[in-house]
Subunit: 412 residues, 2 copies
């Protein structure tokens, strides 16, 4: 494919705060990362609020924002993106949930939230509940990895503002879903359907051959499905239509793939991209270069920095950044001449917080003609003196597509 | 109370412009203020637009914004906040006014807008008009300090877009309140009620014993009440609910206390906080530290810098900043380990303007883990090279609550 190309490379949770163990430097400040620094030195830098200053973004809401969609308008829960991420066809107006296969006793008390971390047979169990009709609603269910799955409810007049059925602790009864607002008839309908689905899943699964075999071998049966994280599937203009792209996504987690799929991007699976600290980032970089042969935009999310942040492992985060730096080096060495790279993060996951924070993240745009500034290092504090100043995530696609010269002019 | 704490310390009108008398320095630049400078050096700095760039904020609209409420949505006049500030119970849909006890002659010409700066007897005068019923509207009136008071109209279908009854000059007739838009029936109703209230206040007060005594001793009678600054009381989600706080306010003026009370903060009265240049700021600092024992957030407004700015007294402003600096020192020395301080202003009150200007103000966030920058001084120009760049007042609570790690994550 001819013409300019764009890469949006997102280090998940890459931003951080100064860490005492690292001499009051952030992991990015402490890492040896010549390629990221080259990208910053040859590019234009700044800090970026994924959603808005101080807002603690999730990876899903942040990626929606980075791709130009307002999460305050389109996001009511992660269900639709989880479901899309495992290949389910989610349509506007559906209400979708992430689910666990769970073990309950005869009194509907949860004895294992993850059904003994079941790894096999979930496809057959899913087939036993998929397609169920409750009232005028079709219940589509698909298994994901391990004990996970997703449920999509399709029918008229459904809402998503309901409480979870999953009690989130063991030893507690399965909860009854309820509408958060008793006057919200659409959500009341969803709650009614979900409660019936949960009951029927137990009826369908408790004596299922897969579970009989598990019990015979001393394993916990996956005898019920508990949905949570309800979200109403929004209507979104596909990203290719909005920005004139042929776009694809190289990502590691179902949630990011789900967001990308939902906005109409092609999903490129890289088998060696594990979502963990052992992921093969060079394989991902190769997939990006390969994909750009017949696409003009690739979003890539690298999960590792977030994993190290959640685990509060400063040196592990530093080491992983150095691995990610090699990936950046591979990209810089192998992209076509007319390629722009935006390097950033979807949020900070500081070592000291062990979770997402609302701190802004560094961003750099690299490619022919960008207004280079004096920033020489890609880290949270060096970039604050950059030419971009402080921007919001929702403007990244505008900046990238205007650099790529594929953006329509607004006005005359 | 365990857990992280937050202090938002606001120097009222603290921002300024370069002053010739101070060698083209601003009062903040000219002042010796080692503690504010320490806070800036150890913190992250930037400039802040209380409402939006160039907007001349009032103290009320600014504090609403700093606390996370959009004044363009919730503010129609200062009446509701004045009334709340003197302890009146203002409810959504009420229309409230600030009022003066005034002296008029028999022809309803204002002869003293402040009724001889009456200081005593206003409680009895207020009792003579409080609770009046006009049409289907209850008129609640309470005296404030000196010649001041507040009126709350409670009844169906009231609007706040009316002209003032107070002519704002002496020798002029009392004005008749009118709806600004003749087609605005709700405001027309309010104007009708207010005009009757003014007339009835004259009837109730002109021969009141307090006024008879005043006249006998050669003092001007407080024989009429003139309302102004009509505002419709908005529906606001309490700040504790919005941000997960147990919050309190240490302030000097009724207006700031009123805003704080209106959003549901506990008001801490400090008898030595006078609202003037003689205020005891160490007493206020002690009240903050004491209050944080059972609250996790304190807003504190220090009025002095605004007073000096309105009076165009540059050296007085410098001197007062130095007193405020000692207050900052007391806080830095006495806060618990896990405390965050945001130091800023609600607007600039430049010496050269003698009133609020639309210039941005300095801001610094201080506390464990903040991304320190290279700024060494807390003043309007030094902070512009800080890591925060330029933010808006409405993001302060987001930033503070994410630093305190009490903010809910948006998404997954």
């Amino acid at each position: 494919m001819e013409g300019p190309k764009g890469i949006l490379l997102v280090g998940d949770g890459l931003g951080d705060r100064p860490v005492a163990e690292l001499g009051s430097r952030t992991p990015l400040e402490a890492a040896e990362k010549p390629n990221m620094d080259r990208l910053a030195a040859e590019g234009e830098c700044g800090i970026m609020d994924p959603i808005a200053p101080g807002v603690r973004a999730g990876s899903d809401t942040s990626h929606l924002a980075l791709l130009g969609y307002d999460p305050y308008e389109c996001y009511t829960g992660r269900g639709p993106f989880e479901a899309a991420g495992i290949g389910m066809d989610v349509k506007q107006g559906d209400v979708a949930f992430r689910c666990n296969f769970t073990t309950v006793n005869d009194d509907m008390v949860v004895t294992d939230r993850r059904a003994g971390r079941i790894t096999e047979g979930t496809e057959q169990l899913a087939a036993a509940v998929n397609g169920m009709q409750i009232e005028d609603v079709t219940c589509l269910f698909k298994e994901s990895v391990a004990h996970r799955g997703a449920l999509v409810l399709r029918g008229p007049g459904l809402g998503a503002n309901i409480t979870d059925t999953d009690p989130h602790v063991e030893g507690a009864h399965v909860h009854e879903a309820k509408p958060v607002d008793p006057n919200d008839a659409a959500s009341a309908k969803t709650a009614r359907i979900v409660n019936q689905f949960v009951k029927k899943s137990y009826e369908a699964l408790k004596d299922h051959a897969v579970n009989k075999a598990r019990e015979a071998s001393g394993q916990k049966p996956a005898n019920i499905i508990l949905p949570r994280g309800a979200g109403l599937a929004p209507s979104l203009t596909p990203i290719n239509e909005r920005f004139g792209l042929t776009s694809a996504c190289v990502a590691e987690t179902g949630l990011i793939k789900g967001v990308a799929k939902y906005v109409g991007m092609k999903i490129i699976d890289v088998p060696e991209a594990t979502g963990g600290l052992d992921s093969n980032l060079i394989a991902m970089a190769k997939a990006i270069i390969e994909t750009l042969k017949d696409h003009n935009f690739v979003l890539c999310n690298v999960k590792g920095p977030d994993v190290a942040g959640h685990d509060a492992k400063a040196q592990v985060k530093v080491d992983f950044i150095q691995i990610m730096d090699e990936m950046v080096g591979y990209l810089l060495d192998n992209v076509d001449e007319n390629t722009y790279i935006a390097l950033t993060a979807d949020h900070s996951t500081p070592i000291s917080v062990k979770d997402h924070s609302g701190d802004p993240v560094p961003i750099a745009f690299w490619g022919p003609g960008v207004r280079t500034d004096k920033v020489m290092h890609f880290d949270e504090r060096s970039v604050t003196s950059g030419g971009l100043h402080r921007i919001r995530g929702c403007y990244i696609m505008n900046i990238l597509t205007q650099l790529m010269a594929i953006q329509e002019k607004f006005g005359a």
